[in-house]
Symmetry: C3
């Protein structure tokens, strides 16, 4: 059996919604990511403490739609966009350097919560790309590299925003994995990816 | 191996949670959709500017649970409910006619964000129905047609709410697909589904 | 084809993000659950009416990360944690006893919305465990039993919070399934799991 498209255009939300390929799921997830990011942008708007983040996210948002369309359509994310993103990664990594040692329990107000959702959605986008690739559809490397960096950057932004607001995330100690000693972590903090 | 249900009723959140069928996932997603819609309803409550939308969504909400249960249980969404929904689609389409030309970047306050989530969840519900159908379980056409129209209508509601609040979504120009010229879009705007 | 990890640590958000196993998805979902719970905790913080719930959720949050890591890493959720959780289940079940008769339409302010999301994510975590188990990876029973109880408990917390705020969820009557009569439900309410 195969579900059929309606001929009433009001009853078709996306031309590929009925296809079996996980590519459609990649597109649904990255659309959700773009939308959730739009929510975070709205929450930060007009707050002088976060103007740099607001400006960055506004410039980032259309690139999420480029990520969305770069497998089925013409590729629109390249090495250049990764380098652009890496600049912001390094900048915000520097701002939080030494503040996060090991794992923490997520906390924070609305924009932080939305950026954590963006972080989850970035991971889900990579997982969808893994499935798309497994079906034999070409996924340019730059796309999943971009999504990985996005995820890591969104985490840093949650720590930056909390930091500027004076909110501390409680520490988390794993019982399943051995953690590194704080002193060793300190040495590594410049390059650490939590 | 198969995970087994606990005999302690406190440890069973849903009778079908352990089944392999994607039908359970359809039910989880439509439950999430009903819940997220409840959040949007709460945010709009008591605001005179959105009273018509509030009333409509209150009437819509139980129908999402009907959609949820209409595959495993007795069908409870029919042509009549699609026609009812189409009336609201046309009404809100008319309100935004000419305002959205081409693609936009999602923005907006809390109820808008929640309605965008409802839009994503409507798509995921259709995707789940595609999988349910592929397993040989009958999915009445009216269910996925209803979910498609829901998705398109939720988008329109985000534009309506933003419009009444004076919020403009920034324009988005795709680098992956050729867009139609604004003038051509204008001619088509009456029937356009973004 | 197989997507390859980048050697730039900034471009790797999770060591197992490229694996084919659904175990990675279990970990993404429980991470999302822990994060969403952090959002709910933040919303309840400092409100005396919900101090008991806040304290409970703060104690619960690290256990979600234990749940996350207890399949790939060393098991960190045991019978003891289920008993601990059951104590809170019974306590909040008692607070709402008789208030919820049959199904309701979800409603409520931000912390309630986030706890409903936690409820959905608990179900998705179980669904991921069903897939992990189907791949032949051992899932200790205590983990999915814990996630089931979490889901049921999150529902109760939404009713508790609404109750303390004087918010009533509208009743929902299914057209797909026969409901039990209110009088029968009343008799059962002490043990009912909605």
């Amino acid at each position: 059996m195969t579900l059929k498209k309606s001929k009433d255009i009001r009853e078709l939300c996306y031309p590929f919604i009925y296809e079996r390929s996980p590519l459609c799921d990649h597109e649904i997830i990255t659309d959700e990511l773009c939308t959730t990011l739009g929510g975070a942008i709205y929450e930060l708007e007009g707050d002088e403490r976060f103007k740099d983040i607001y400006d960055f996210l506004c410039e980032l948002q259309p690139k999420i739609f480029h990520l969305n369309a770069s497998i089925r359509g013409k590729q629109a994310i390249f090495e250049e966009q990764i380098e652009w993103l890496a600049g912001y990664f390094d900048r915000y990594q520097q701002e939080i350097a030494g503040r996060i040692k090991g794992f923490v329990l997520p906390r924070g107000p609305r924009p932080v919560q939305l950026l954590h959702s963006c972080r989850s959605l970035s991971k889900k986008a990579i997982r969808a790309m893994v499935l798309v690739d497994a079906e034999g559809i070409e996924v340019p490397d730059v796309l999943h590299r971009f999504a990985n960096m996005l995820c890591n950057l969104f985490f840093r932004l949650t720590v930056v925003i909390n930091g500027r607001l004076g909110i501390m995330e409680p520490e988390y100690v794993s019982k399943s994995y051995k953690s590194k000693s704080p002193s060793k972590l300190k040495q590594e903090s410049a390059k650490k990816v939590v």
